[in-house]
Amino acid sequence: MALTGMDIYKMLPKKNCKECGFPTCLAFAMKLAQGGVEAEKCPYMSEEAKMKLAEATAPLMKTVKFGSGDKTYTLGGETVLFRHEKTFVNRNRFAVMLKDTMSDDEINQKIANMNKVNYVRIGENMFVEVAAVKCESKNKDQYLKLLKKVKDECKLAVPMIITDDPEIAKAAVEEVKDLGPILYGANPQNYEAMVNIAKENNLLLGVEADNLEALYDVVSKIRSGGYNELILSTKADKAKQLFDDIVNIRRTALVAQDRVFGYPSVVFVNNLSSDKFMQLAYATLFVEKYGSIIVLDEIDYSLALPLFALRQNIFTDPQKPMRVEKGLYKIGPAEENAPLLVTVDFALTYFIVSGEIERSKVPAWLLIPDAGGLSVLTAWAAGKFSGKTIADAVKEMGVEEKLKTREILIPGKVAVLKPDIEDALPGWKVVVGPEEAEMLPKFLKDYTNRVA
């Protein structure tokens, strides 16, 4: 349970020494309760009180890490159930399942597909971050062989070792410990041995049990033994039950304020169906509702394009608009005589406008100035989408050198900018486009016919 200011005040030395920077111990206690200052600032608090306070004022869901170097990822640390309340902070990561009982062909195919999905979307690299490597054979050598292969061939992914056999786990960790793997497979029977391996190597430990009650029990035991780098799952293999489990792990932590479930969770959607589109459906559900690692059987672009895009949407700060980089974007096989359009750098506007240009099948250039990440009318009203910003962008992007056209199409809603732009860009003609992007395909076809 969270402590109130008065609870904390009782633990303080009550000297009013002001060394913490606050006029009284009570004022300090109130600030601590809000999480606005750290307990360390009090020089006279007992170690025991500090520990208790640190525990009580820590976030309800722990932030955990896995991976190494530039492939270090954080999970958990979420503070809300709905993104509008305060943002979802640590995006989920996708995993593809590889088992040591699969044929070489199957494994090679899966690895090739994983490596193939690697692209940039709005400034972010999109690829599968986790290779879920499962020991099904119960044979250590067979498992280590697969793990080595994954280490050598899936350079982008951090391995998740999946076994409930501590002896195999130990050898597996030895094989890939430099990569900061996740060790998955602690359960009510083996947890002591598994915690020891995780502890020695400082690894994120996956804990699972048959149901929430059993999971609660084993996590309580692991916590009281002092290990806290955990990620949770249940063995539910029915969608309805798994959804119940995952939602309630999150609610137990954040609503009931019970830290036993204050950890992120792993969702094996590959256990719910073998059909790739069904897995996509479940993965979508768990991107929105609280899966931190989502394990699929397979990845290809048809799954990656929607899933990574969804994740990029859901894990954005609702208070900050998404922006695209300023620049001169080529849409379709545009040549130097193709039409030139301009719009703002608000990501949504960019996507809608570029999508409609693509739909028109008219190859074109789209100029994006720095317009503050605002929509067309807002940017115009804020003075960030003006004759000057557009003219500056034309110059900065070297449009006159790259393109032969001296006509620029502007959004219909800012028709009023026409004289300003023409003043700022001698020799150029401004053409007022349609008010809605939806009208662009027809407009562009008419425009190119007229010009031709």
């Binding site: 589109f277 459906a281 929105e288 929607p306 895009a309 949407n313 949504l348 693509e358």
Partner: protein, 312 residues
Amino acid sequence: MAYQKPRQTFKGQIKEVVMGKDLKIGGESVLPFYTFDGDTGNPPRIGMEVWDVAPTGWPEGLMNLIKDVAEDPAAWAQFYVKNYNPDFIVLRFVGANPDVKDRTPEECAEIAKKVADSVEVPLVIAGCESNEKNGKIFTKISEVLANKNYAFLSAVEANYKEVGAAVGLAYGNIVVAESSVDLNLAKQMNILVMQLGVKPEKIMMNPGISAVGYGYEYVITTLDRIKLAALDQNDTTLQMPIISPISFESWKVKESTATEEDAPEWGSLEDRGIAMEICGAVGVLAAGSNGVILRHPRSVEVLKNFINSMLN
């Protein structure tokens, strides 16, 4: 200490609206698929898109499936009902667009009547890109299909008086109040339609939709907030069932239109479109939609299985 599962119950409830003779939609008093909290109401409903003109730009596999019926909306609707068992058919008047065929309201009404006579499931009538034209065709269609309880997608700020008066008041059908991805706009549209005198049980809402990756977070957040206002704060002006025309957006974006020649590494265009549609549909269902409109039979199959597995 033994584990105690938290429960969340609400005092509000989403209204149950009847489409057609007996297709119930809405009625839940918990968040979507939260069977562990209480009554999830009627399962989410699935509609399939049928056009008044033979479509262009649809993927080849889908065109092959419907090639014998694509010219005849009634046969097409029948084909879908027989083979894919959707809960309702969405008859979309693309041809009413002044830039396409500029069909008259009378022509549209005749087509709608034929489709209505050919299938047992309820219809959702959707228009073209012109709100003004939609006002006219909806008036005529609702007249010839009076008291059928069909839903008209949709009434927007520019035409709600005309649409609301004809569809909801004069001819006893269902008005879908559309707004663009903002809780307050959605609330305002519902209130405006109710102030015309349309009864709440004859109103559904479409608070906006997009494809995943294209501002979809606003859609999810708007739906989350609408459902919480309706259930937690018992806001009766937001307790109408939500219907989301996912296919209208999902098939327009780059992911589902870039050809295999243009994007060879992306693989099958049809698979990409289906995936965009499934992801968009599951996403809004998880945030509170009570019904989704889809284009591809494969998406329909997946969504049916998904819904079934979440509720049973």
